[in-house]
Amino acid sequence: MAEPAQADIKGWLAGLARTSQRWINATVVAGTLAGLATIVQMVLLAWLVYQGVIAGEPVSALTPWFLVLVGMLVVRAVCQGLQTRFAARCSEQVRRHARRQLNDHWQAAGPVALSEASAASLAREWLDHVEALHGYFARFLPQMILATVIPLMILALVFWLDWLAGIFLLLSAPLIPLFMALVGMGAEKVNQQHFETISRLSGQFLDKVRGLTTLQLFGQTAQASDTLYQRSDQYRRITMKTLKVAFLSSAVLEFFSSVAIAVIAIYIGFGLLGYITFGPSDQLTLFSGLLILLLAPEFFQPLRTLSQHYHDRAAALGAGAEILARLQEPVSGAGNVQAQTKPTATADTIALSGVSLRYSDSPPVFDQLNMQVKRGEVIALTGPSGGGKSSLLHLLAGFIRPDAGTISVFGQSAGSSPFGWLGQKGFWIQGSWADNLRLTSPDASDIAIENALRRVGLAELLDSREQGINSRIGEDAQGLSGGQARRLSLARIFLADHELVLLDEPTAGLDATSEICVLEALHKLSEAGKTVIFSTHHQALLALANRVLIVSGAEVRNA
C-alpha cells in the first residue's frame, strides 16, 4: 500500500469532521460557555474581595452575590460536563462513519482483492485504527478552537482593564499561533519518541514471548531475559537523551506563563502603591488588579490542555494514513463500463462473451474469451496452476470484473444473485453448528440444518455432541480440521439450495474421508439438477463432470 500524502490524510480527517460538525460545534459552544463562566467567576471573586476588603461591605450585604457566584460555578460545571458528553457523541459518530467507509470499500473490492491483505491486519484497521481517531475528534479538534477563543476573550478583558497588563500577557505569548507551533513541535517530538520506544520495547518483549517454547527447548530463557533487559535499558537511555531537549518546549510555555504571572503581580502591586507614574496604572484598583492576576493562569490553561492532547493528533494522523491507504486501493474493473451493461443472454445459460482479463503488467489471463454453460451442467476446469482456473471462477462469481466483455449468469450479471461458493479454505465462526449454517440461510429449520450436515458426512461428529446442532463447534478447543471445515461450507451450500455452485479445488489437501464426502456431495448436487462448476486436478472429480475444460494460455478449450 502506498503511503498517502499528509495533505490527503488531513483532508480525509476534515471530511470526517464535517460528518459530525454539529457535535463538534456543540462541543466548542459548551467549552466556550464554560470559559465564559470561568471569566465571570473570576470577575465576581475579585469584585467580592474588593467589596469586602477595600469598600468594607458587611458579609450579609454580599451574601446574595456569593450565591450568584455559586450559581456561576454550577453553570461552569454543567458546561464542562456537556462538553465531554458532546465530544464523546462526536467521536462515536465519526468512528461509525469511518467504519462504514471501510466496510463499503471491502464490499467494492470483493473477496479476491481483500484476501491479499491478512484478515488480522484488516481487522486492526477496522477496529484499532478507527479507535485511534477518537482523541483527535473528541479532544484535539475542539481544543484547537478553544485554545484560540478563550485566550482572546481573556486578553480583550485584560486590555479593557489595563492595557499595559494586556501587553505583558500578549508579549509572554508573542503570537498564539507561533506559540502553538512551538508547543506542537515539542509535543510531537516527545510523543513520537515515546511511542517509538514503547513499540520497540513491546516488539522485543513479544519477540521473546512468541519464541518462548524455542527458548525453553534450548534452555536459554535466562539469557533471553537478560537481553530483553539490556535492550530495554538501552532504548531508555537513548530516549532520555532526546527527551532532555524535547521537554524544553513545554518548559518554555511553563516559563512564559510563570513569568507573566510574576511580572503582572509585581506591576500591579507597584501600580497600586502609586509607584508607577506612567500608563494606565493609576486607574488600578484591587478589583481590576486581582482580576487580572486570576485571569492570567486561565489565559495559558487552554494552551497547556492543547499540548497535552497533541499526541491525539499524531495518533489520528498515523491511523488515518493506514486507513486512507486502504480506502485508496483501486477497485478492480471499476473502469469497465461495458461489463456493467445489461447482459442479454438467455436465462438458461451462463455465457461469457469477449471477456478479457489481465493483472497489471503480466500477460493477459484471458483474451476475448467466449464460453457457454447450460443450466444443470457439471463442468470441471483443469489445467496448469496459474493457468487461470481460479480467475475464471472468480469472474463467474463476480468477485472480480473483466477488463472487457460481458458475463451473464442465467440472464443476470455475475454475482447479482446468490450462489454457492466453496473456497480452498473452509470457514466457520465461533458458535454452534446451527449458527454457522444460519449465517448464509438465516431462516433454515433445525431439521433442514441437521439434514444438510448429514449429507456432508458430519453426522458422526454431530451425534457425539450432546446438544446436537446447538453444540458449539470449538468446544473441544480444537475446532475443525481443514476437511471438516470444508464439509461445513458444503453443508451451507446444500442448505441454501442455490442454482449455481462454484468450487475452487474442492478436494485439494483433504484426508481420504473428507475427499469421499465431498465427491458424494458433488454427485448429489448434480443429481439435484444444479449447475456445478469446479476447478480440479483430481481424477475422480474429473470423471464426475459432464464436460472437462482446460484453462491455459489465455483460453479455455474442451478436453
Binding site: 534450548f218 497600586l272 465462526i429
Partner: protein, 540 residues
C-alpha cells in the same frame, strides 16, 4: 484490588525513584499554588497600603520579601516542572522494562502446557494491550492520588493556622467529597463498563476476522451487507459504552472542579466574617481562596485515570492468569533418561498422546529408537503428528503409557526466528559454538553464501520475526540452529517446510551425514518431507 498486588510490589522496588519523582511533582504543584497565592497576598497588601499612602498616612511596606518570593516561585515552578517531567519519564521507562522482564520471566517458568493455546497472534496482541495498561499505574494513578491527598491536607492545615479549626474542617469535608468523587466514586461507577471494554473489543475482533475469512462465502450468498451490518451494530454499541465511560469521567471531573471552586468561595465567605472581626488581615483573607483554586490542577488529573481503573484491574487480572505458576512441576523439564546397560535413545510403550482435558489423538503407540537410528513418522495434518513430537521432546506429558529418552534437540513445526542477529539466533542451539562452527552449519543448509554476501556477516540483523528472510531461508536457519546442538536425540517436525525440492534433495543427505551416530526422528506430511529414514511409521 488484590490483582494489583504483584505489580505494585514490582513498582515499589523502585521506591527511592518513586519518592523522588513524587517530591518533584509536589514541588511543581506547590510552586504553582504559592506563586498565585503569594501574588494575591501581595496585591491586597499593596492595595491597602496604597490607600493609606493616598490618604497621606505614613505606612511601611516590605516589597523585598514578597517580590523575591514571587520571582522565586516563578522560576521554581518552571524548573521543577522540567525536572519532574524528565525524571518521571525516566522512571516510567524503567518501570516499563521491569514489568516486561518480570512478565517474561514468569511466562518462562510456566511450561507449554500451562500456557495452553495462548500463543496465537490474538493472545499476543491482548497481552501487549494489558501490559500497556499497567504502564500508567504510577504516573497516572498512584502519584496524582497521593499528591492530591497530601496537598489537600497541607492546605487544610494552612486554613487551620490562618483561619480557624471549624473552617478547616468544613473545607476538609468539601475537598474529601471532591477527592472521593474523582477517585473511588468514579471507579465504582465505571468499573463494570470499563472492565468489559477490552474483552468486548477482542470478541468483536474475532467476529471481524471471521467476517473477512468468510467474505467469499458470504458474498456468494449475498449476505455481506447483513453480516457487516451486525458488526457495525456491535462496534457502535462498543463506542457507545466507551462514550458512556467518557461522559461519566467528564461529569465527575466537572463536579470535582465545582467542589474545589466551592471550597474557595466558602473560604472567602467565612474569611470575611473573620476579617470583619479583625481576626485575619485582608492579604491573608485573599491568600487562602487562591491557594484552594490552585488545587483544581491536581484534582483534574484524577478522573481520567480512575475512569480507566476498571480496565487496568481487568488487565492485571488477565495477566495474573497468564502467568499462573505451574501446578505440580515447575514447568518445562527434561525427562529422566532410561536406565539399563544398553541405552535406547527413545523408548515409548503404550503411549497415549493428546492435550490434557481432551480426547487423545494417538493411543497405544509403542516404538524404540536406538542411537544412530532414523525413524520417520508420516501423517496428514490433524493426525496428532505435532502432539507426538511435542510429547517426545517433553513439551507435553504423555496422557498414558511410559516414555524414556536421552536429552534431545527439537525443531518445532513453527519457524521461530528472533529479532536479532544471525549469530544470536544460531547460538541458542549451542552457546559455546565458535564462528567457524556457525559457518559450517550454515554451509550445510546452503545459507553460508547468503550471509557471506552481507557486510555484517554473522552479525546481520534478521528483522522482526526474521522478516528479512524468505520462508525457506528462515526454515533452513532454524534447522541449522538445531544441528548445532550436541544432543544425542534429534526430533525434526516438518524439517523442510517452504524449502524447494532441489535444495531439499541436496541438503537432506548432508544433514543425515552430519547427524551420524545420533538418533533422529523426523515427522512430516509425506515421506519426501523427511530426512532419509530407515523405518517409516504412518499415523492414521
Amino acid at each position: 484490588m488484590r490483582e494489583l498486588r504483584p505489580w505494585l510490589q514490582l513498582i515499589l522496588r523502585r521506591r527511592g525513584r518513586l519518592v523522588a519523582g513524587g517530591a518533584l511533582l509536589l514541588a511543581t504543584l506547590i510552586s504553582g499554588i504559592a506563586l498565585l497565592a503569594l501574588s494575591g497576598w501581595f496585591l491586597t497588601e499593596t492595595a491597602l497600603v496604597g490607600l493609606l499612602f493616598a490618604a497621606g498616612v505614613q505606612a511601611y511596606i516590605n516589597l523585598y520579601v514578597p517580590g523575591s518570593g514571587i520571582r522565586f516561585f516563578a522560576v521554581s515552578r518552571t524548573v521543577s516542572r522540567y525536572l519532574e517531567r524528565l525524571y518521571n519519564h525516566n522512571t516510567v521507562l524503567s518501570l516499563l522494562t521491569d514489568i516486561r522482564v518480570a512478565l517474561f520471566n514468569r511466562l518462562a517458568q510456566a511450561g507449554k502446557r500451562q500456557r495452553g493455546d495462548k500463543t496465537g497472534a490474538q493472545w499476543l496482541s491482548r497481552l501487549t494491550a494489558d501490559v500497556d495498561a499497567l504502564d500508567t499505574l504510577y504516573l497516572r494513578l498512584i502519584a496524582p492520588t497521593a499528591l492530591a491527598a497530601l496537598v489537600t491536607l497541607m492546605i487544610v492545615g494552612l486554613a487551620w493556622l490562618l483561619f480557624s479549626g471549624t473552617i478547616a474542617l468544613i473545607l476538609l469535608g468539601i475537598l474529601a467529597t471532591a477527592f472521593g468523587l474523582a477517585t473511588w466514586g468514579l471507579y465504582v461507577r465505571t468499573r463494570a463498563l470499563s472492565g468489559q471494554l477490552n474483552e468486548r473489543q477482542e470478541q468483536l475482533r474475532g467476529q471481524v476476522i471471521e467476517h473477512l475469512e468468510g467474505f467469499a462465502e458470504l458474498t456468494a450468498a449475498g449476505r455481506t451487507g447483513k453480516h457487516s451490518g451486525r458488526l457495525m451494530r456491535h462496534a457502535f454499541a462498543l463506542s457507545q459504552s466507551q462514550a458512556e465511560v467518557d461522559a461519566r469521567v467528564g461529569w465527575h471531573l466537572s463536579v470535582t472542579v465545582l467542589l474545589v471552586n466551592l471550597s474557595a468561595v466558602i473560604a472567602l465567605w467565612a474569611g470575611f466574617g473573620l476579617f470583619q472581626q479583625d481576626l485575619v488581615s485582608g492579604p491573608v483573607l485573599v491568600l487562602l481562596p487562591i491557594a484552594l483554586l490552585g488545587l483544581g490542577e491536581v484534582y483534574g488529573m484524577l478522573p481520567e485515570a480512575f475512569g480507566k481503573f476498571g480496565a487496568t484491574l481487568a488487565a492485571a487480572r488477565r495477566l495474573n492468569e497468564d502467568v499462573q505458576p505451574a501446578d505440580e512441576q515447575p514447568g518445562f523439564q527434561k525427562r529422566p533418561a532410561g536406565q539399563g546397560a544398553k541405552q535406547s535413545a527413545l523408548t515409548a510403550s503404550d503411549l497415549a498422546v493428546g492435550h490434557p482435558g481432551q480426547s487423545s489423538v494417538i493411543t497405544h503407540f509403542s516404538v524404540a529408537v536406538e542411537p544412530g537410528d532414523r525413524l520417520g513418522v508420516v501423517g496428514v495434518s490433524g493426525s496428532g503428528k505435532s502432539s507426538l513430537a511435542d510429547t517426545f521432546a517433553g513439551l507435553i506429558d504423555p496422557v498414558a503409557g511410559s516414555l524414556e529418552s536421552l536429552p534431545c534437540t527439537y525443531l518445532t513445526q513453527t519457524t521461530v526466528v528472533f529479532d536479532d542477529t544471525v549469530k544470536a539466533n544460531l547460538l541458542l542451539g549451542n552457546p559455546e559454538a565458535t564462528d567457524g562452527e556457525l559457518w559450517h552449519v550454515l554451509e550445510l543448509v546452503e545459507l553460508a553464501e547468503r550471509f557471506s554476501r552481507e557486510v555484517a556477516g554473522l552479525d546481520t540483523w534478521l528483522g522482526n520475526g526474521g522478516s528479512r528472510l524468505s520462508g525457506g531461508e528462515a526454515r533452513r536457519l532454524v534447522l541449522a540452529r538445531v544441528l548445532l546442538s550436541k544432543a544425542p536425540l534429534v526430533i525434526l517436525d516438518e524439517p523442510f517446510t517452504g524449502v524447494d525440492a532441489d535444495t531439499r534433495g541436496r541438503i537432506a543427505p548432508r544433514i543425515d551425514q552430519w547427524l551420524d551416530g545420533r538418533a533422529v526422528i523426523s515427522l512430516g506430511h509425506g515421506p519426501e518431507a523427511l530426512l532419509p529414514s530407515g523405518h517409516i511409521l504412518h499415523l492414521n
